[in-house]
Structures are given as C-alpha cells and as structure tokens.
C-alpha cells in the first residue's frame, strides 16, 4: 500500500513539474483581469505631461473595458508617481513589475527616466510601449520587449527648421536651448539643417533649466537682428520668451517644439503667441480628428481629467491602443512572448490621433509622420499649415 502511495505521489509530483510551467500564465493576468502598469511624473512641473499621458492611457483602457475588456478580461491600470526623479522612476517600475506584478507597461516618464529604466525593462522581459518622451536611445539598438510610439526630437526639429528655412529664405536666425539632454538634441537637430541649408545664425543662446526671466536673453536676440527664432524652451520658458519679445516690440517668425505645444500656453502668451509655428506628430485639437478625440474622451474620464487633456493624452492613448490590440490578438491565454510577437506585427494601426502606427521585425520605433501647425491666438488653438 505504501509503495502504491509513494508511486502515486511521485507520479503526481512529476506531472506537476512537467505540466505546471506550461500552464502557468505570465504575471498580471487572472481569469477576470489584466494589469497594465505605468510610472509618470504626477507631481511637480512635469506633471503637465505625466498626468496628461496617464489620462490618455485611462481613456484607451476605459474604451476597451466598455467594449468588454480584452477577450473578456477587464483591464486594471496601476499608476505610480515618480515626481520626475530618475531614482523614483526605477523604484516605481520595479514596484509595478515585482510587487503589483503587472502584465505590461506603458509610459514611462521623461526621456532620461526611460533611458535609466531600460535595463530593468530588458531584464524583466515585460512587454512595454513607451509614449511620452521618444529619444533614439530607446529604440537604437532595438530591445526585444520595448516599443516606442512617436517621433525623435531631432527629426522634429529638423522638420520644423527645414519648413521655416524654406518659408523664410535668406533671413537671420536665432536659437535658444535648455542646458540638458533635451536642449542638446534640439541644438543637434538645428545644427544639421544649418549646415545643409547654410543658414545665417546670428544668435545662439543657452539657458539653465528652471530659468524664469529671459529679459537679457531676448534683448540679445533683438540686438542680433534675428528674424527667425527657434524657441527651445519647454512650457513656461517659451511663454516668458514670447512676452519679453512683445515688451521689446519685436516679432520674429518663431518656431516651438511639441513639448510646449499645448493650448493653455497660447492663452498665456496672448497676442505675442499669434502665428508661432510648431511641429508635432499628433493631431491638433482644433482639427476634425482632435475634436473627435475629445468627444470620445468626454464620457470616459472625470471632469477634472478632461480638463487635463493635452497632446500627451493623445500619445498615451495611441500607445495604450497598440498595446491592448496586441494583447487582444493573443486570444484567451495571452503571454508576454505572444504579446511581444504581436506588437512586432503591429501594422498600420489606426488610432485617430496620429498617423497609423507600425512596427516590424527588429523595428521598435513607430517613426510617426510629422506636421507643422500654426497658432491662432483668436481661437487659442493650433491649426495645420501643411
């Protein structure tokens, strides 16, 4: 009898060892739920992008849940605040992966923060779609499990400067950039067009992150006689620069970059912001696609969240849509391996907020189409000009 019991136990243990791993699902998935994690700056000045991006993720998740979830499983969103502090980003990502045990990741915070957490993401192997701050390091070299939706800062600047150069031939140029990796990228993009088009740059300034008074900088710009100006600030800096130019009674043709292309900025710039050019890869809210997105979002988020919508909401929404679609294509038993394979197969996915998104074998960057927009102070909106 004992022999029979021992044999049965051995058989059961062997069966568990053989069958067990095959049947075990990846973390973050139960019969009723799928967890998606995210780490964003929800406090401090960069919350402007972090909160907005998380609202985009929430909209896509609410939309999917309203349609029955992913093959019957509801999506649960786990969001952590990093305060835009890299050490907290790493801590937050580790927490959502190891403690909350999420199935997939969206986000993640700023460019520096995404770069810093790359080893954690790679080591874990979790399917990830990055949407907030696209920089080349995130997709070059391509990582198996990390996909990036967007366009590179450098390409954005090249597109904008090329447009302004073609529109304003023979003019004098001025540029001011921030003294960090963002500023260096903007400067590099600008320099590449300067060389190619032999632009006449009469002013090149550099400001320290956090600078709020631009009186001497803009005075120097005026003295230089610059006629076309690339304002390399982010949000408050560009507002301060435009208001200084207004005070100095000059109005060069001005271009700004997408991190600062949010509608409330125009209200604060007032008439000084009228006509400024911007480059972006998401649709302006003033266009048909933008209006349709707002209509869709309204019933899916709270009133406070609706007020927090900006361009980053669109990038977040698009990334979440791509991730949800990939998990969905894996059927009833999605795994990390299948989700990554399906993300790779993403081909011309329509999100309504930017050009169709595609990845491919070894291609982890969606390389979105860029468009130029122009500010209209009367309607406080950006309108496409191409």
């Amino acid at each position: 009898m004992i022999k029979h019991l021992a044999a049965a136990s051995l058989l059961f243990t062997t069966a568990c060892l053989v069958i067990g791993p095959a049947a075990a699902a990846d973390p973050g998935i139960t019969d009723t739920e799928i967890l998606i994690g995210d780490v964003e700056p929800l406090t401090g000045p960069p919350a402007l992008l972090g909160v907005a991006a998380s609202i985009g993720h929430k909209i896509a998740i609410a939309e999917a849940n309203a349609a029955g979830g992913i093959n019957g499983r509801k999506i649960k969103y786990v969001l952590e605040d990093d305060g835009y502090v890299t050490a907290r980003t790493i801590q937050g990502v580790k927490k959502v992966i190891d403690v909350d045990k999420v199935f997939a990741m969206l986000g993640i915070s700023g460019s520096g923060q995404s770069i810093a957490v790359m080893p954690v993401l790679e080591k874990s192997g979790i399917p990830t779609v990055i949407d907030v701050a696209p920089v080349k390091f995130l997709w070059e070299p391509p990582r198996k499990n990390v996909f990036v939706v967007g366009q590179s800062y450098e390409e954005g600047i090249i597109h904008l400067v090329n447009f302004l150069a073609d529109k304003n031939p023979g003019k004098k140029w001025g540029l001011i950039t921030q003294d960090d990796d963002y500023g260096i990228t903007v400067h590099d993009g600008f320099d590449s067009v300067v060389k190619a088009k032999k632009l006449n740059v009469v002013y090149s300034g550099n400001y320290k992150k956090g600078q709020q008074d631009f009186s001497s900088d803009m005075l120097q710009l005026k003295e230089s006689g610059a006629e076309v100006f690339l304002a390399g600030g982010i949000i408050a800096e560009n507002i301060a620069m435009m208001k200084e130019l207004e005070k100095l009674s000059i109005k060069p043709v001005t271009g700004i970059f997408w991190p600062g292309r949010i509608e409330p900025v125009l209200k604060l710039m007032g008439p000084a912001g009228d006509g400024i050019y911007a480059v972006d890869y998401v649709e302006p809210f003033a266009g048909a696609a933008g209006k349709a997105f707002l209509e869709k979002a309204k019933p899916l988020v709270s009133e406070a969240e609706f007020k927090g919508i900006n361009r980053y909401t669109m990038t977040g929404y698009a990334a979440a849509r791509v991730m949800i679609a990939a998990i969905e294509r894996c059927g009833k038993q999605p795994t990390w391996a299948c989700t990554i394979a399906e993300l790779e197969k993403t081909k011309n996915v329509e999100t309504g907020v930017m050009a169709p998104i595609s990845f491919g074998p070894g291609v982890r960057f969606s390389n979105q189409k860029l468009q130029i927009m122009q500010a209209d102070a009367a309607t406080l909106s950006f309108k496409p000009v191409e």
Binding site: P45, L48, K208, G210, Q212, S215, S216, A236
Partner: protein, 290 residues
C-alpha cells in the same frame, strides 16, 4: 547705452522680486535663527491663492491683495504653530530638515490642489507695457520696484520705532534676556513667520503678475537665497538690496557675457563677497551658519 539701461531696468524688476523673497528669508532668520528652505514654496502658495481669489471671488486688485495678504498671514501662522513650534529647542539641523520636508509637501500640494498648467494672474493691471525713453517696461515691473522700496522704508521704521519691532530685535539679539524682560519669544516667532510669508508672498504675486504662475515657481526661493546671503542672512533690509544687486548682476552678465553666465553670475558674486565679508554686505559679524 539703451541696451545697458534696458538690462538695468529688467535686472531691477526681477531683482525686486528676489529682494522681497530674500527679505522673507531674513525676517525668519533674524527672529528664529533658522533658514527656512520652504520660503520659495510659501511664496508660490500665496501666489496660487491670489490667482484662485482672482478667478473665483473677484478680479478686483484690492480684493485680491487683501485676500492674498490674509492668506499669507494664515499660512505663516499655521506653519509656525503646527510645524515649527513643536521643534523649539530641537537641534538646528533637525529644524532645518523640517523646513526641507515642508518644502516638498507644499510643492506637491500645487498639483493636488491646483494643477500643473501655467496660469496667468489677470488683475486688469500690471501686464500693460509702458515706454520710458523708448524702453518697454511692464507696469507690474515698475510696481514691484516701487513696492520693494516702500517696504524697505516701512520695515526700517518698524524695527526702529515700533514696540513689536524692537521686541523682535531683542529676541534676535538674546531670546533668554528678552524672555526675562517679558517678551514672548513664541509670539515673536509667530509674527516673524506671518511677516515673512506676507513679504515673500507679495514677491510671488508680483512675479505671477509680470510673468506667470506655474509649479516651477518655487525655484524663486533658490534664486532669492543668494540675495539673502549677499545682503546678510540677518539683515532684512540688506537682503532686499541684495536682491536688487543679484538681479542687476544676473542681467548684466546675461547681456554682456552670454546667456549661460546669467545663472552663474549671482553665485559667483556671492563667493567673492563671502570671501571678503563672510557675514554678507549688511550682515552682523557674529552669525550662526546652518
């Protein structure tokens, strides 16, 4: 020449804001011997409250001014009573750390109570541009320079002639002796926190009026701190003047040496001044460094 004058005027305008916040630092230091690292955050909170009043109650400049001053007094008193008074008698290092913790909490409060978007403080005045001899200046910038000068004179008279002002100086000089003379040190501390909150808050409101309101505004505290060190950590009036000096130096450096030098100039100036006068231009020789 016009270039120089323009740099000087802009420097005076931003320097006046630094000066007001620097005076806030000095008022607390002079009365309590403490460097308040939450000064920039207190400045920002008052400005946000002013903005809230302007958008929800009334945009009338007097309503906003009175509301903001009352709010700043309340903020200073609440912080003193709930956070600082329990720290009385504790090591200075621990108390300073408490102000750093307070700074983080106040900074985060902006996103919880308001939002991360920049806002404009619209009071129907202060944003207009006037041209003085061909030089464009915002009326708010002229007003902040005038306000600083007025406050400098008022505070000098307050410390020199008023009973409360003399009591504050007595506590600053020797709090035990002042106590024996019947002066309540805790009451003086509370008054100092309230006064500091109001003075710095005025700077914050003017900044919001001339520039904008954003969660990054707390950094004004970091900009104003060199002004306090320059003027003298225990010199309220000196700190105000220190602000003007820092503002002008920053702008001249930015205008003549290049944009990158603007932020460095103020700190370079402090290093030089502290090497010659470690207690600041107007500070007293016997000063406790924290």
């Amino acid at each position: 020449m016009q270039y120089l004058i323009q740099l000087l005027i802009s420097g005076l305008a931003i320097g006046a804001i630094y000066g007001l916040i620097a005076m806030g630092f000095a008022v607390i230091y002079k009365s309590t011997g403490l460097v308040n690292f939450a000064q920039g955050e207190m400045t920002m909170i008052t400005a946000y409250i002013a903005w809230t009043i302007s958008t929800t109650v009334s945009g009338n400049v007097f309503v906003v001014a009175i509301g903001a001053i009352l709010a700043a007094v309340a903020l200073g008193l609440i912080i003193e009573r709930l956070v600082m008074r329990p720290m009385l008698g504790e090591p200075v290092f621990a108390t300073v750390m408490v102000t750093i913790g307070l700074a983080v909490i106040l900074r985060s409060a902006i996103n919880f109570i308001w939002d991360a978007y920049p806002h404009g403080l619209e009071l129907g005045m202060g944003r207009g541009i006037v041209h003085l001899g061909g030089i464009g200046v915002r009326t708010g910038q002229l007003a902040v320079i005038a306000t600083l000068l007025l406050l400098l004179a008022s505070i000098w008279a307050f410390f020199r002639y008023s009973k409360v002002g003399v009591a504050m100086r007595a506590v600053a000089a020797d709090d035990r002796t002042a106590l024996l003379m019947g002066i309540s040190a805790t009451r003086v501390h509370a008054l100092a926190w309230a006064a500091s909150s109001v003075i710095a808050g005025i700077g914050g409101v003017f900044f919001a009026l001339s520039y904008d309101l954003s969660p990054a505004m707390f950094q004004l505290g970091l900009r104003a701190f060199p002004a306090t060190i320059l003027g003298g950590l225990d010199a309220v009036l000196g700190s105000g003047l220190g602000g003007l000096l820092i503002g002008i130096t920053e702008n001249l450096a930015g205008g003549y040496l290049g944009s990158g030098m603007k932020e460095v100039a103020g700190f370079a100036m402090i290093i030089v001044v502290l090497m010659v006068r470690p207690f600041g231009i107007f500070g007293e020789r016997d000063i406790e460094r924290v």
